[in-house]
Amino acid sequence: MLSSIFEPASIAVVGASNNETKWGGMILKNLRSGYKGAVYAVNPMEKEVQGLTSYHSILDIPEDVEMAITAIPAQLVLEVVDECGKKGVKGLVVLTAGFSETGKSGGELEKQLVSLVRKYGMRMIGPNTLGIVNEPFNLNASVIGKLPRPGHISFITQSGTLGLAIADWTIDMGIGMCKIISTGNKADTDDVDLIKYLDNDSSTGVIAMYIEGINRGKLFLETARRIKKPIVAIKTGRSKRGQKAVFSHTGSIAGSDEIYSAAFKQAGILRVDTIDEVFDAALAFTCQPLPRGNNVAIISNGGGASIVAADECERQGLNIVDLTPETRDKIKAVIPEFASSSNPVDTAGTVSFKIYTESIKALLRDPNVDALIVIYVHTQMSNAIPPAEAVVEIKQKCTKPVIACWMGGSGTEQGVDILKSGCLPNYSVPERAVKALAALVKHRDFLAKTKTDDAMPENLGG
């Protein structure tokens, strides 16, 4: 059970160290900084580690141990894992490197490790992982310096160091995270197991992934397709073409990357190009309802920004919808005479709580409008706070997605903080806001389609 890894009642660190710059020291320290369950240190060379009794072997621990983390050299892993099995450990996080990632002999060792893990019915993350984080459980079983802020995004990463960097970055950006999972070599637990687990995990709202390669491709697609939670993924290796000497046109055009894109699309996985986009989309999913359709309204105090947004809508397949005459009348009543009441609505530089409130209300009540993008462009004559207050207030009572883009430097900061407090992530430029909205629309389309479609019949065969 993966719950033994993510929500264990007790944890032993095998290879625990007094030196906090070593993995076995760092991970013990990180664990104890938040985790509420029992923690045991195992190191035959020490009597005490970071103030804890150090056991010679995991078998010497008098209490039950549900999960073990190994930070020991590769040649010792089999022996230790065998002891873990005998002890009744249910979950393993094997930080140790030196397995299939190093070549043939390492691959052989990994096979032996997996058969041992399975012999005892344990589950394992790794080897060669930087660990896992489960924020709602205050569990930091990783070498990431601190727990992320609470949130509903769970991130599966095939690159450990990228996971590390992103974890730190999310803290700085104020992005809340639920779980961070560095998969390592995926020798036992792989993407299929993890997305299934996260699908059933009530604290996960959206699954974000960094993927280099998938082990069980067909099963992964089948599994992903049944998952209703959004999955946003970045898959690297786009530049790789298919093989050179080819027999057919199809063979020369269908590189593995094109096939990945098609497969992800069929499985409802949103493939994005950049790490920014992964989290832009993921944040939108955690804070916004799905739109009913792709009809978008834009309001801005600056024409340029709304044109940029409208152009990006076009590229993303979103429709800049015609507003009803009633909506236009309501907007006309509050904006200056020379401003534009047609979509995109342009307040011609004027900004006030009233203008934004009344216009946004009218736009959201318009039956033609499925989603709204609110843009504020900072100038020396305007104040970022009133429009932010307006949008947050309306957002509380509204069932349509509202995406915010407050552009400008330090002058917008207070406005952005108000947005964040209302679960309105701010997108720094219109294109990012539009792409995040497009992700919501695509996911909604996928859900609508899977109810009726035969995109991938149950009997996949093969």
Partner: protein, 216 residues
């Protein structure tokens, strides 16, 4: 081991999955060429059939629009040309086939992929696929709706719907071909397949040329 099928063998495979193919037979000699051409009844295409030759027109192995009365002479002409150009090539005979009907040139392909199994490709054929790579992909198996989506996804879709007085293509027929190809992918152990072109007229779609590589 992989095995490359000739055009005729590839089309027999397609026909097994109810994909329409051109009327055709292999002539072993000039008399047979005449007999087959007469039976088809309209001008024919004549193509060298050899497991050693995959790019038939590059070596002068293709003649088009041949009336039955010229089939014999054309047979001899192609054979002597090939014997001269490729003396070691094993020649099975000449494929005498119905000329392609008018319609839209389409490419339908299949490729076995290590991660996900078989991938299907659809696109407009000829220069469109060569230059613009205006194609769409799906992982097999797919059903008819997914096939229709795949068709409507390419940039050139309006061309198939019929623009500027051009006749539209039978899109449902193309979709059925895609579903059939998806079905044969696994059953026939296909490594790679091109149907190029599949000609889609106002009613129906017919495989005019095909090449397949299968796993033995």
């Amino acid at each position: 081991m992989s095995l490359v099928l000739t055009e005729h063998e590839s089309k027999k495979l397609l026909a097994k999955y109810e994909i329409a193919v051109t009327k055709e037979s292999i002539a072993k000699n000039a008399d047979e060429a005449y007999a087959i051409a007469s039976q088809i009844g309209t001008p024919v295409a004549m193509k060298i059939s050899s497991p050693d030759i995959s790019h038939k027109s590059d070596v002068g192995g293709v003649e088009l629009n041949i009336p039955a009365s010229e089939a014999k002479a054309t047979y001899d002409k192609i054979i002597s040309r090939i014997k001269k150009a490729l003396p070691d090539a094993k020649i099975e005979g000449i494929l005498v086939q119905q000329m392609a009907p008018p319609g839209h040139e389409i490419i339908v392909g299949l490729k076995k992929d290590a991660q996900f199994g078989h991938a299907l490709m659809f696109g407009l054929g000829g220069i469109f696929v060569e230059v613009y790579k205006d194609v769409s992909f799906r992982v097999a198996p797919i059903g008819i709706k997914e096939a229709l989506d795949m068709i409507s996804e390419i940039k050139g879709y309006p061309i198939l719907k019929g623009i500027r007085g051009r006749k539209p293509a039978d899109i449902d027929a193309i979709a059925r071909v895609l579903v059939s190809v998806s079905e044969m992918a696994q059953k026939e152990n296909i490594i790679e397949l091109d149907i190029n072109p599949l000609i889609a007229g106002e009613t129906g779609a017919i495989a005019v040329d095909a090449r397949a590589m299968i796993e033995e």
